[in-house]
Symmetry: D2
Protein backbone atom coordinates (compact mmCIF):
# COMPACT_ATOMS: atom_id res chain seq x y z
CA UNK A 1 0.00 0.00 0.00
CA UNK A 2 1.21 3.45 -0.84
CA UNK A 3 2.09 5.17 2.41
CA UNK A 4 2.61 8.42 0.56
CA UNK A 5 -0.86 8.48 -0.92
CA UNK A 6 -2.04 12.05 -1.27
CA UNK A 7 -4.72 13.37 1.03
CA UNK A 8 -7.62 15.11 -0.76
CA UNK A 9 -8.06 18.88 -0.95
CA UNK A 10 -8.51 20.50 2.42
CA UNK A 11 -10.33 23.75 2.91
CA UNK A 12 -11.47 26.13 5.58
CA UNK A 13 -13.03 29.53 5.99
CA UNK A 14 -11.61 32.60 7.59
CA UNK A 15 -13.44 35.79 8.48
CA UNK A 16 -12.12 39.31 8.88
CA UNK A 17 -13.23 42.93 8.81
CA UNK A 18 -11.77 45.60 6.54
CA UNK A 19 -9.51 48.04 8.40
CA UNK A 20 -9.59 51.77 7.72
CA UNK A 21 -5.94 51.83 6.68
CA UNK A 22 -6.62 49.11 4.10
CA UNK A 23 -8.57 51.56 1.92
CA UNK A 24 -7.06 53.97 -0.59
CA UNK A 25 -8.23 57.26 -2.07
CA UNK A 26 -10.51 55.48 -4.53
CA UNK A 27 -12.55 54.66 -1.40
CA UNK A 28 -12.01 50.92 -1.81
CA UNK A 29 -9.59 48.35 -0.42
CA UNK A 30 -6.08 48.76 -1.83
CA UNK A 31 -5.35 45.75 -3.99
CA UNK A 32 -2.41 44.25 -2.11
CA UNK A 33 -4.49 43.79 1.04
CA UNK A 34 -6.37 40.88 -0.50
CA UNK A 35 -3.06 39.03 -0.67
CA UNK A 36 -2.40 39.83 2.99
CA UNK A 37 -5.84 38.42 3.83
CA UNK A 38 -5.20 35.33 1.74
CA UNK A 39 -1.97 34.82 3.66
CA UNK A 40 -3.86 35.14 6.94
CA UNK A 41 -6.44 32.59 5.75
CA UNK A 42 -3.69 30.23 4.62
CA UNK A 43 -2.03 30.39 8.03
CA UNK A 44 -5.42 29.78 9.69
CA UNK A 45 -5.81 26.66 7.56
CA UNK A 46 -2.33 25.36 8.36
CA UNK A 47 -2.90 26.10 12.01
CA UNK A 48 -6.23 24.22 11.92
CA UNK A 49 -4.28 21.27 10.50
CA UNK A 50 -1.95 21.39 13.47
CA UNK A 51 0.97 22.94 11.59
CA UNK A 52 2.64 25.64 13.59
CA UNK A 53 4.60 27.93 11.25
CA UNK A 54 6.64 29.30 14.15
CA UNK A 55 7.78 25.83 15.25
CA UNK A 56 8.45 24.80 11.66
CA UNK A 57 10.56 27.94 11.17
CA UNK A 58 12.42 27.14 14.37
CA UNK A 59 13.11 23.63 13.04
CA UNK A 60 14.70 25.37 10.07
CA UNK A 61 11.97 25.24 7.45
CA UNK A 62 11.08 28.27 5.37
CA UNK A 63 8.04 28.70 3.11
CA UNK A 64 8.84 31.38 0.56
CA UNK A 65 6.18 32.24 -1.98
CA UNK A 66 7.09 31.68 -5.60
CA UNK A 67 3.93 32.83 -7.30
CA UNK A 68 0.79 34.77 -6.47
CA UNK A 69 -2.14 35.90 -8.54
CA UNK A 70 -5.32 37.75 -7.79
CA UNK A 71 -8.40 38.78 -9.79
CA UNK A 72 -10.56 41.64 -8.60
CA UNK A 73 -14.28 41.38 -9.37
CA UNK A 74 -15.95 43.79 -6.97
CA UNK A 75 -14.40 46.19 -4.50
CA UNK A 76 -14.43 45.67 -0.73
CA UNK A 77 -14.93 48.73 1.44
CA UNK A 78 -14.03 49.85 4.92
CA UNK A 79 -15.96 47.99 7.59
CA UNK A 80 -17.09 45.18 5.27
CA UNK A 81 -16.97 41.74 6.78
CA UNK A 82 -15.08 39.43 4.47
CA UNK A 83 -15.29 35.67 4.21
CA UNK A 84 -12.21 33.98 2.80
CA UNK A 85 -12.42 30.42 1.57
CA UNK A 86 -8.99 28.85 1.30
CA UNK A 87 -8.22 25.48 -0.21
CA UNK A 88 -4.98 23.53 -0.04
CA UNK A 89 -4.26 21.07 -2.82
CA UNK A 90 -1.80 18.62 -1.23
CA UNK A 91 1.12 17.34 -3.24
CA UNK A 92 3.92 14.95 -2.37
CA UNK A 93 6.55 17.38 -3.48
CA UNK A 94 7.59 20.04 -1.03
CA UNK A 95 5.31 22.80 -2.16
CA UNK A 96 1.89 24.03 -1.21
CA UNK A 97 -0.65 25.30 -3.70
CA UNK A 98 -3.54 27.28 -2.29
CA UNK A 99 -6.49 28.92 -3.90
CA UNK A 100 -8.74 31.55 -2.43
CA UNK A 101 -12.09 33.26 -2.73
CA UNK A 102 -13.03 36.44 -0.90
CA UNK A 103 -16.71 37.24 -0.48
CA UNK A 104 -18.63 40.03 1.13
CA UNK A 105 -20.17 38.24 4.08
CA UNK A 106 -23.43 40.19 4.09
CA UNK A 107 -24.18 40.01 0.38
CA UNK A 108 -22.26 36.79 -0.43
CA UNK A 109 -20.92 38.62 -3.48
CA UNK A 110 -17.64 37.25 -4.81
CA UNK A 111 -15.07 40.04 -4.53
CA UNK A 112 -11.89 38.39 -5.64
CA UNK A 113 -10.21 35.08 -6.31
CA UNK A 114 -6.58 34.25 -5.99
CA UNK A 115 -3.94 31.59 -5.71
CA UNK A 116 -0.45 31.19 -4.42
CA UNK A 117 2.30 28.66 -4.59
CA UNK A 118 4.75 28.28 -1.76
CA UNK A 119 7.81 26.06 -1.72
CA UNK A 120 9.79 24.78 1.23
CA UNK A 121 13.44 25.41 1.82
CA UNK A 122 15.86 24.80 4.64
CA UNK A 123 17.40 27.61 6.65
CA UNK A 124 19.97 28.31 3.96
CA UNK A 125 17.37 28.64 1.22
CA UNK A 126 17.98 25.23 -0.40
CA UNK A 127 14.81 23.80 -1.92
CA UNK A 128 13.32 20.70 -0.29
CA UNK A 129 12.12 18.01 -2.65
CA UNK A 130 9.57 16.20 -0.50
CA UNK A 131 7.29 17.37 2.29
CA UNK A 132 8.75 16.56 5.72
CA UNK A 133 7.06 13.63 7.47
CA UNK A 134 5.66 15.91 10.21
CA UNK A 135 3.75 17.90 7.63
CA UNK A 136 2.52 14.85 5.75
CA UNK A 137 1.24 13.50 9.06
CA UNK A 138 -0.75 16.68 9.61
CA UNK A 139 -2.23 16.47 6.13
CA UNK A 140 -3.17 12.80 6.60
CA UNK A 141 -4.71 13.46 9.97
CA UNK A 142 -6.77 16.25 8.41
CA UNK A 143 -7.86 13.87 5.69
CA UNK A 144 -8.80 11.37 8.40
CA UNK A 145 -11.42 13.77 9.65
CA UNK A 146 -13.16 13.61 6.32
CA UNK A 147 -15.65 10.84 5.44
CA UNK A 148 -13.80 7.54 4.78
CA UNK A 149 -14.59 7.63 1.08
CA UNK A 150 -13.15 11.04 0.62
CA UNK A 151 -10.08 10.36 2.74
CA UNK A 152 -9.54 6.84 1.50
CA UNK A 153 -9.58 7.30 -2.23
CA UNK A 154 -6.87 8.92 -4.28
CA UNK A 155 -7.78 12.47 -5.33
CA UNK B 1 -5.30 56.67 -42.43
CA UNK B 2 -6.12 55.15 -39.10
CA UNK B 3 -5.99 57.97 -36.51
CA UNK B 4 -6.44 55.44 -33.79
CA UNK B 5 -3.37 53.44 -34.73
CA UNK B 6 -1.82 52.00 -31.60
CA UNK B 7 1.42 53.40 -30.28
CA UNK B 8 4.12 50.81 -29.61
CA UNK B 9 5.03 49.51 -26.17
CA UNK B 10 6.37 52.19 -23.89
CA UNK B 11 8.68 51.48 -21.02
CA UNK B 12 10.65 53.16 -18.33
CA UNK B 13 12.73 52.34 -15.31
CA UNK B 14 12.13 53.20 -11.71
CA UNK B 15 14.53 52.89 -8.81
CA UNK B 16 13.84 52.46 -5.12
CA UNK B 17 15.44 51.20 -1.93
CA UNK B 18 13.99 48.51 0.32
CA UNK B 19 12.52 49.91 3.54
CA UNK B 20 13.01 48.21 6.89
CA UNK B 21 9.28 47.76 7.39
CA UNK B 22 9.04 45.98 4.03
CA UNK B 23 10.87 42.94 5.44
CA UNK B 24 9.27 40.11 7.38
CA UNK B 25 10.60 37.61 9.90
CA UNK B 26 12.07 35.44 7.13
CA UNK B 27 14.53 38.33 6.75
CA UNK B 28 13.38 39.08 3.21
CA UNK B 29 10.94 41.48 1.59
CA UNK B 30 7.32 40.55 2.31
CA UNK B 31 5.75 39.46 -0.95
CA UNK B 32 3.03 42.09 -1.32
CA UNK B 33 5.60 44.91 -1.37
CA UNK B 34 6.70 43.99 -4.89
CA UNK B 35 3.18 44.84 -6.03
CA UNK B 36 3.36 48.17 -4.23
CA UNK B 37 6.66 48.85 -6.02
CA UNK B 38 5.18 47.84 -9.36
CA UNK B 39 2.35 50.28 -8.72
CA UNK B 40 4.86 53.01 -7.96
CA UNK B 41 6.75 52.23 -11.17
CA UNK B 42 3.53 52.24 -13.17
CA UNK B 43 2.61 55.66 -11.84
CA UNK B 44 6.11 56.91 -12.64
CA UNK B 45 5.64 55.71 -16.21
CA UNK B 46 2.24 57.37 -16.58
CA UNK B 47 3.61 60.52 -15.05
CA UNK B 48 6.54 60.48 -17.50
CA UNK B 49 3.95 60.25 -20.29
CA UNK B 50 2.28 63.38 -18.97
CA UNK B 51 -0.67 61.59 -17.40
CA UNK B 52 -1.52 62.96 -14.01
CA UNK B 53 -3.54 60.38 -12.06
CA UNK B 54 -4.76 63.04 -9.64
CA UNK B 55 -6.16 65.23 -12.44
CA UNK B 56 -7.65 62.23 -14.20
CA UNK B 57 -9.34 61.17 -10.94
CA UNK B 58 -10.65 64.73 -10.52
CA UNK B 59 -12.08 64.54 -14.06
CA UNK B 60 -13.95 61.47 -12.84
CA UNK B 61 -11.82 58.63 -14.16
CA UNK B 62 -10.95 55.67 -11.98
CA UNK B 63 -8.35 52.97 -12.72
CA UNK B 64 -9.25 49.91 -10.69
CA UNK B 65 -7.05 46.85 -11.03
CA UNK B 66 -8.71 43.72 -12.28
CA UNK B 67 -5.80 41.33 -12.24
CA UNK B 68 -2.31 41.11 -10.79
CA UNK B 69 0.29 38.40 -10.81
CA UNK B 70 3.80 38.12 -9.48
CA UNK B 71 6.54 35.50 -9.60
CA UNK B 72 9.30 35.48 -7.01
CA UNK B 73 12.70 34.28 -8.17
CA UNK B 74 15.14 35.62 -5.60
CA UNK B 75 14.48 37.51 -2.41
CA UNK B 76 15.15 41.21 -1.97
CA UNK B 77 16.52 42.33 1.38
CA UNK B 78 16.50 45.43 3.51
CA UNK B 79 18.60 48.21 2.03
CA UNK B 80 18.84 46.65 -1.44
CA UNK B 81 18.51 49.07 -4.30
CA UNK B 82 15.89 47.81 -6.69
CA UNK B 83 15.48 48.60 -10.37
CA UNK B 84 11.99 48.20 -11.71
CA UNK B 85 11.43 48.01 -15.45
CA UNK B 86 7.82 48.71 -16.34
CA UNK B 87 6.29 48.32 -19.78
CA UNK B 88 2.90 49.52 -20.94
CA UNK B 89 1.30 47.71 -23.84
CA UNK B 90 -1.11 50.27 -25.30
CA UNK B 91 -4.53 49.15 -26.43
CA UNK B 92 -7.43 51.07 -27.93
CA UNK B 93 -9.86 49.70 -25.42
CA UNK B 94 -10.00 51.42 -22.09
CA UNK B 95 -7.62 49.23 -20.17
CA UNK B 96 -3.93 49.28 -19.44
CA UNK B 97 -1.77 46.21 -19.35
CA UNK B 98 1.60 46.54 -17.67
CA UNK B 99 4.39 44.13 -17.10
CA UNK B 100 7.25 44.43 -14.67
CA UNK B 101 10.68 43.19 -13.78
CA UNK B 102 12.41 43.87 -10.48
CA UNK B 103 16.17 43.50 -10.34
CA UNK B 104 18.77 43.95 -7.66
CA UNK B 105 20.58 47.03 -8.91
CA UNK B 106 24.04 46.01 -7.71
CA UNK B 107 24.01 42.42 -8.96
CA UNK B 108 21.50 42.84 -11.83
CA UNK B 109 19.88 39.64 -10.61
CA UNK B 110 16.25 39.25 -11.59
CA UNK B 111 14.22 39.12 -8.39
CA UNK B 112 10.67 39.00 -9.62
CA UNK B 113 8.43 39.54 -12.58
CA UNK B 114 4.83 40.63 -12.61
CA UNK B 115 1.95 42.03 -14.53
CA UNK B 116 -1.24 43.88 -13.91
CA UNK B 117 -4.31 44.84 -15.83
CA UNK B 118 -6.18 47.96 -15.00
CA UNK B 119 -9.48 49.09 -16.51
CA UNK B 120 -10.99 52.55 -16.59
CA UNK B 121 -14.33 53.46 -15.15
CA UNK B 122 -16.22 56.67 -14.56
CA UNK B 123 -16.91 58.03 -11.08
CA UNK B 124 -19.83 55.66 -10.60
CA UNK B 125 -17.79 52.59 -11.48
CA UNK B 126 -19.19 52.10 -14.99
CA UNK B 127 -16.63 50.58 -17.35
CA UNK B 128 -15.31 52.79 -20.16
CA UNK B 129 -14.99 51.13 -23.54
CA UNK B 130 -12.36 53.31 -25.21
CA UNK B 131 -9.43 55.26 -23.83
CA UNK B 132 -10.30 58.96 -23.43
CA UNK B 133 -8.74 61.20 -26.09
CA UNK B 134 -6.51 62.93 -23.50
CA UNK B 135 -4.87 59.64 -22.65
CA UNK B 136 -4.49 58.54 -26.26
CA UNK B 137 -2.80 61.86 -26.94
CA UNK B 138 -0.31 61.21 -24.17
CA UNK B 139 0.42 57.75 -25.54
CA UNK B 140 0.90 59.09 -29.08
CA UNK B 141 3.15 61.87 -27.90
CA UNK B 142 5.24 59.31 -26.02
CA UNK B 143 5.47 57.24 -29.18
CA UNK B 144 6.53 60.39 -31.04
CA UNK B 145 9.61 60.57 -28.89
CA UNK B 146 10.67 57.20 -30.18
CA UNK B 147 12.59 56.80 -33.47
CA UNK B 148 10.24 57.37 -36.48
CA UNK B 149 10.37 53.72 -37.45
CA UNK B 150 9.32 52.55 -34.06
CA UNK B 151 6.66 55.19 -33.66
CA UNK B 152 5.38 55.07 -37.21
CA UNK B 153 4.78 51.40 -37.71
CA UNK B 154 1.99 49.40 -36.19
CA UNK B 155 3.18 47.27 -33.27
CA UNK C 1 -29.79 71.22 34.23
CA UNK C 2 -26.84 70.93 31.92
CA UNK C 3 -27.96 69.01 28.84
CA UNK C 4 -24.41 68.90 27.61
CA UNK C 5 -23.08 67.17 30.71
CA UNK C 6 -20.19 64.91 29.81
CA UNK C 7 -20.61 61.15 29.84
CA UNK C 8 -17.90 59.25 31.73
CA UNK C 9 -15.01 57.41 30.09
CA UNK C 10 -16.11 54.55 27.90
CA UNK C 11 -13.95 51.57 27.15
CA UNK C 12 -13.98 48.27 25.37
CA UNK C 13 -11.70 45.44 24.41
CA UNK C 14 -10.68 44.24 21.00
CA UNK C 15 -8.86 41.05 20.10
CA UNK C 16 -6.71 40.26 17.09
CA UNK C 17 -3.96 37.92 15.94
CA UNK C 18 -0.59 39.03 14.59
CA UNK C 19 -0.29 38.58 10.82
CA UNK C 20 2.87 37.27 9.19
CA UNK C 21 3.34 40.44 7.15
CA UNK C 22 3.21 42.51 10.33
CA UNK C 23 6.62 41.20 11.39
CA UNK C 24 9.97 42.59 10.29
CA UNK C 25 13.44 41.12 10.02
CA UNK C 26 14.04 41.58 13.75
CA UNK C 27 11.46 38.78 14.07
CA UNK C 28 9.02 41.02 15.93
CA UNK C 29 6.01 43.13 14.96
CA UNK C 30 6.99 46.25 13.03
CA UNK C 31 6.27 49.26 15.19
CA UNK C 32 3.64 51.01 13.06
CA UNK C 33 1.31 48.02 13.22
CA UNK C 34 0.42 48.75 16.84
CA UNK C 35 -1.04 52.04 15.63
CA UNK C 36 -3.05 50.20 12.98
CA UNK C 37 -4.36 47.88 15.70
CA UNK C 38 -5.20 50.82 17.95
CA UNK C 39 -7.15 52.33 15.05
CA UNK C 40 -9.04 49.07 14.59
CA UNK C 41 -9.84 48.95 18.32
CA UNK C 42 -11.00 52.58 18.27
CA UNK C 43 -13.36 51.87 15.38
CA UNK C 44 -14.67 48.81 17.22
CA UNK C 45 -15.43 51.03 20.24
CA UNK C 46 -17.19 53.67 18.14
CA UNK C 47 -19.12 50.97 16.36
CA UNK C 48 -20.16 49.45 19.72
CA UNK C 49 -21.46 52.90 20.67
CA UNK C 50 -23.61 52.94 17.55
CA UNK C 51 -21.43 55.35 15.61
CA UNK C 52 -20.98 54.31 12.04
CA UNK C 53 -17.87 55.96 10.60
CA UNK C 54 -19.04 55.30 7.04
CA UNK C 55 -22.41 57.05 7.58
CA UNK C 56 -20.73 59.91 9.42
CA UNK C 57 -18.29 60.33 6.53
CA UNK C 58 -21.24 60.29 4.11
CA UNK C 59 -22.88 63.05 6.18
CA UNK C 60 -19.71 65.02 5.58
CA UNK C 61 -17.78 64.50 8.81
CA UNK C 62 -14.07 63.69 8.80
CA UNK C 63 -11.98 62.51 11.75
CA UNK C 64 -8.36 63.30 10.98
CA UNK C 65 -5.77 62.38 13.58
CA UNK C 66 -3.75 65.23 15.00
CA UNK C 67 -1.51 63.35 17.38
CA UNK C 68 -0.43 59.80 18.10
CA UNK C 69 2.04 58.32 20.51
CA UNK C 70 3.12 54.81 21.34
CA UNK C 71 5.48 53.21 23.85
CA UNK C 72 6.90 49.77 23.24
CA UNK C 73 7.52 47.62 26.30
CA UNK C 74 7.75 44.07 24.98
CA UNK C 75 7.65 42.80 21.43
CA UNK C 76 4.69 41.00 19.90
CA UNK C 77 5.43 38.13 17.55
CA UNK C 78 3.78 36.41 14.63
CA UNK C 79 0.74 34.40 15.69
CA UNK C 80 0.40 36.06 19.11
CA UNK C 81 -3.14 36.83 20.14
CA UNK C 82 -3.35 40.44 21.21
CA UNK C 83 -5.88 42.08 23.52
CA UNK C 84 -6.35 45.78 22.98
CA UNK C 85 -8.06 47.85 25.65
CA UNK C 86 -9.27 51.16 24.26
CA UNK C 87 -10.72 54.00 26.31
CA UNK C 88 -12.50 57.09 25.02
CA UNK C 89 -12.43 60.17 27.21
CA UNK C 90 -15.48 62.14 26.07
CA UNK C 91 -15.26 65.90 25.73
CA UNK C 92 -17.80 68.50 24.66
CA UNK C 93 -15.47 69.94 22.08
CA UNK C 94 -15.32 68.20 18.74
CA UNK C 95 -12.37 65.98 19.36
CA UNK C 96 -11.87 62.46 20.58
CA UNK C 97 -9.05 61.42 22.86
CA UNK C 98 -8.36 57.72 23.10
CA UNK C 99 -5.83 55.73 25.02
CA UNK C 100 -4.77 52.17 24.44
CA UNK C 101 -3.07 49.17 25.97
CA UNK C 102 -1.97 46.13 24.01
CA UNK C 103 -1.39 42.90 25.91
CA UNK C 104 -0.34 39.41 24.95
CA UNK C 105 -3.55 37.50 25.55
CA UNK C 106 -1.88 34.30 26.75
CA UNK C 107 0.61 35.83 29.16
CA UNK C 108 -1.30 39.07 29.95
CA UNK C 109 2.02 40.86 29.53
CA UNK C 110 1.68 44.54 28.65
CA UNK C 111 3.29 45.03 25.23
CA UNK C 112 2.61 48.66 24.46
CA UNK C 113 0.57 51.66 25.43
CA UNK C 114 -0.56 54.48 23.21
CA UNK C 115 -2.86 57.38 22.71
CA UNK C 116 -4.32 59.38 19.89
CA UNK C 117 -6.24 62.56 19.46
CA UNK C 118 -8.65 62.96 16.60
CA UNK C 119 -10.54 66.12 15.67
CA UNK C 120 -13.65 66.50 13.57
CA UNK C 121 -13.89 68.53 10.43
CA UNK C 122 -16.46 69.04 7.73
CA UNK C 123 -15.95 67.82 4.18
CA UNK C 124 -13.80 70.83 3.33
CA UNK C 125 -11.47 70.29 6.27
CA UNK C 126 -12.87 73.08 8.48
CA UNK C 127 -12.58 72.25 12.18
CA UNK C 128 -15.83 71.64 14.08
CA UNK C 129 -16.04 73.23 17.51
CA UNK C 130 -18.62 71.02 19.20
CA UNK C 131 -19.52 67.36 18.79
CA UNK C 132 -22.57 66.92 16.54
CA UNK C 133 -25.77 66.05 18.43
CA UNK C 134 -25.88 62.56 16.82
CA UNK C 135 -22.52 61.71 18.33
CA UNK C 136 -23.34 63.17 21.74
CA UNK C 137 -26.49 61.05 21.74
CA UNK C 138 -24.42 57.93 21.12
CA UNK C 139 -22.07 58.82 23.95
CA UNK C 140 -24.99 59.52 26.35
CA UNK C 141 -26.70 56.30 25.41
CA UNK C 142 -23.45 54.44 26.10
CA UNK C 143 -23.26 56.19 29.46
CA UNK C 144 -26.91 55.21 30.09
CA UNK C 145 -25.85 51.59 30.04
CA UNK C 146 -23.65 52.26 33.02
CA UNK C 147 -25.00 52.32 36.61
CA UNK C 148 -27.09 55.48 37.24
CA UNK C 149 -24.48 56.92 39.58
CA UNK C 150 -21.74 56.62 37.03
CA UNK C 151 -23.86 57.95 34.20
CA UNK C 152 -25.55 60.66 36.24
CA UNK C 153 -22.60 62.31 37.93
CA UNK C 154 -19.96 64.42 36.28
CA UNK C 155 -16.78 62.42 35.65
CA UNK D 1 40.84 64.89 27.67
CA UNK D 2 37.44 63.29 27.52
CA UNK D 3 37.59 60.63 24.80
CA UNK D 4 33.86 60.07 25.15
CA UNK D 5 32.93 63.70 24.52
CA UNK D 6 29.57 63.86 22.76
CA UNK D 7 29.42 64.86 19.14
CA UNK D 8 26.87 67.60 18.34
CA UNK D 9 23.49 67.01 16.76
CA UNK D 10 23.70 65.58 13.27
CA UNK D 11 21.02 66.03 10.69
CA UNK D 12 20.20 65.26 7.11
CA UNK D 13 17.37 65.49 4.63
CA UNK D 14 15.56 62.75 2.85
CA UNK D 15 13.15 63.06 -0.04
CA UNK D 16 10.34 60.76 -1.13
CA UNK D 17 7.11 60.75 -3.09
CA UNK D 18 3.74 59.66 -1.72
CA UNK D 19 2.65 56.25 -3.03
CA UNK D 20 -0.93 55.53 -4.06
CA UNK D 21 -1.30 52.79 -1.48
CA UNK D 22 -0.25 55.20 1.26
CA UNK D 23 -3.54 57.08 0.97
CA UNK D 24 -6.80 56.13 2.66
CA UNK D 25 -10.43 56.80 1.87
CA UNK D 26 -10.22 60.30 3.37
CA UNK D 27 -8.07 61.00 0.29
CA UNK D 28 -5.00 61.77 2.39
CA UNK D 29 -1.96 59.83 3.56
CA UNK D 30 -2.83 57.25 6.21
CA UNK D 31 -1.26 58.35 9.48
CA UNK D 32 1.12 55.45 10.10
CA UNK D 33 2.97 56.10 6.84
CA UNK D 34 4.65 59.19 8.26
CA UNK D 35 6.33 56.89 10.79
CA UNK D 36 7.48 54.60 7.99
CA UNK D 37 8.95 57.65 6.22
CA UNK D 38 10.63 58.82 9.41
CA UNK D 39 12.18 55.37 9.73
CA UNK D 40 13.43 55.56 6.15
CA UNK D 41 14.93 59.01 6.81
CA UNK D 42 16.56 57.76 10.02
CA UNK D 43 18.18 54.88 8.15
CA UNK D 44 19.36 57.29 5.45
CA UNK D 45 21.02 59.40 8.15
CA UNK D 46 22.71 56.41 9.79
CA UNK D 47 23.84 55.20 6.41
CA UNK D 48 25.26 58.65 5.61
CA UNK D 49 27.22 58.38 8.86
CA UNK D 50 28.69 55.10 7.69
CA UNK D 51 26.55 52.91 9.93
CA UNK D 52 25.26 49.88 8.14
CA UNK D 53 22.22 48.51 9.96
CA UNK D 54 22.57 45.17 8.20
CA UNK D 55 26.18 44.69 9.33
CA UNK D 56 25.34 45.88 12.83
CA UNK D 57 22.48 43.37 12.99
CA UNK D 58 24.85 40.66 11.76
CA UNK D 59 27.27 41.60 14.57
CA UNK D 60 24.36 40.93 16.91
CA UNK D 61 23.06 44.42 17.62
CA UNK D 62 19.35 45.18 17.56
CA UNK D 63 17.72 48.63 17.62
CA UNK D 64 14.18 48.21 18.89
CA UNK D 65 12.05 51.33 19.17
CA UNK D 66 10.79 52.16 22.61
CA UNK D 67 8.80 55.28 21.89
CA UNK D 68 7.38 57.13 18.89
CA UNK D 69 5.23 60.19 18.57
CA UNK D 70 3.83 62.14 15.66
CA UNK D 71 1.80 65.33 15.25
CA UNK D 72 -0.21 65.91 12.11
CA UNK D 73 -0.55 69.52 10.96
CA UNK D 74 -1.55 69.31 7.31
CA UNK D 75 -2.34 66.29 5.20
CA UNK D 76 -0.03 64.92 2.52
CA UNK D 77 -1.65 63.61 -0.64
CA UNK D 78 -0.86 61.06 -3.34
CA UNK D 79 2.00 62.18 -5.56
CA UNK D 80 3.23 64.91 -3.21
CA UNK D 81 6.96 65.15 -2.90
CA UNK D 82 7.92 65.11 0.75
CA UNK D 83 11.05 66.45 2.39
CA UNK D 84 11.98 64.83 5.66
CA UNK D 85 14.47 66.52 7.96
CA UNK D 86 15.86 64.09 10.50
CA UNK D 87 18.09 65.01 13.42
CA UNK D 88 20.02 62.67 15.68
CA UNK D 89 20.84 63.87 19.17
CA UNK D 90 23.88 61.78 20.15
CA UNK D 91 24.14 60.42 23.65
CA UNK D 92 26.78 58.31 25.35
CA UNK D 93 24.23 55.80 26.54
CA UNK D 94 23.17 53.13 24.09
CA UNK D 95 20.10 54.81 22.72
CA UNK D 96 19.35 57.04 19.78
CA UNK D 97 16.90 59.90 19.93
CA UNK D 98 15.72 61.28 16.61
CA UNK D 99 13.35 64.04 15.72
CA UNK D 100 11.68 64.65 12.39
CA UNK D 101 9.89 67.19 10.27
CA UNK D 102 7.97 66.36 7.10
CA UNK D 103 7.31 69.17 4.63
CA UNK D 104 5.59 69.39 1.30
CA UNK D 105 8.52 70.01 -1.00
CA UNK D 106 6.67 72.32 -3.40
CA UNK D 107 4.95 74.52 -0.85
CA UNK D 108 7.44 74.08 2.03
CA UNK D 109 4.43 73.66 4.29
CA UNK D 110 5.11 71.76 7.50
CA UNK D 111 2.97 68.61 7.42
CA UNK D 112 4.01 66.76 10.52
CA UNK D 113 6.62 66.51 13.21
CA UNK D 114 7.69 63.46 15.11
CA UNK D 115 10.27 61.82 17.27
CA UNK D 116 11.43 58.37 18.18
CA UNK D 117 13.68 56.77 20.70
CA UNK D 118 15.51 53.60 19.89
CA UNK D 119 17.62 51.55 22.29
CA UNK D 120 20.29 48.99 21.52
CA UNK D 121 20.23 45.40 22.62
CA UNK D 122 22.25 42.32 21.89
CA UNK D 123 20.89 39.37 19.97
CA UNK D 124 19.09 38.03 23.04
CA UNK D 125 17.32 41.31 23.71
CA UNK D 126 19.51 42.43 26.64
CA UNK D 127 19.84 46.21 26.83
CA UNK D 128 23.27 47.70 26.09
CA UNK D 129 24.38 50.47 28.40
CA UNK D 130 26.88 52.33 26.21
CA UNK D 131 27.11 52.83 22.49
CA UNK D 132 29.58 50.38 20.91
CA UNK D 133 32.89 51.94 19.92
CA UNK D 134 32.19 51.39 16.20
CA UNK D 135 29.09 53.55 16.43
CA UNK D 136 30.76 56.25 18.50
CA UNK D 137 33.50 56.38 15.87
CA UNK D 138 30.92 56.97 13.17
CA UNK D 139 29.31 59.75 15.18
CA UNK D 140 32.69 61.40 15.86
CA UNK D 141 33.72 61.14 12.24
CA UNK D 142 30.43 62.79 11.27
CA UNK D 143 31.12 65.53 13.78
CA UNK D 144 34.61 65.86 12.28
CA UNK D 145 33.07 66.94 9.02
CA UNK D 146 31.59 69.93 10.77
CA UNK D 147 33.58 73.13 11.37
CA UNK D 148 36.20 72.57 14.11
CA UNK D 149 34.33 74.80 16.54
CA UNK D 150 31.13 72.92 16.15
CA UNK D 151 32.80 69.54 16.32
CA UNK D 152 35.19 70.45 19.11
CA UNK D 153 32.86 71.96 21.65
CA UNK D 154 30.25 70.14 23.65
CA UNK D 155 26.73 70.64 22.23
Amino acid sequence: MNERRLPPAIECRHRLKVRYGETDQMGIVYHTNYLVWFHEARDALLSALGMDIVSLEQEGYRFPLVDVGCRYLHPARYGDEIDIRVRLLPELVARMQFDFEARNRRTARLLSTGSCLSVMTDRSGRLLLRLPETILTCLRRAAGNLPVDAAGSPP
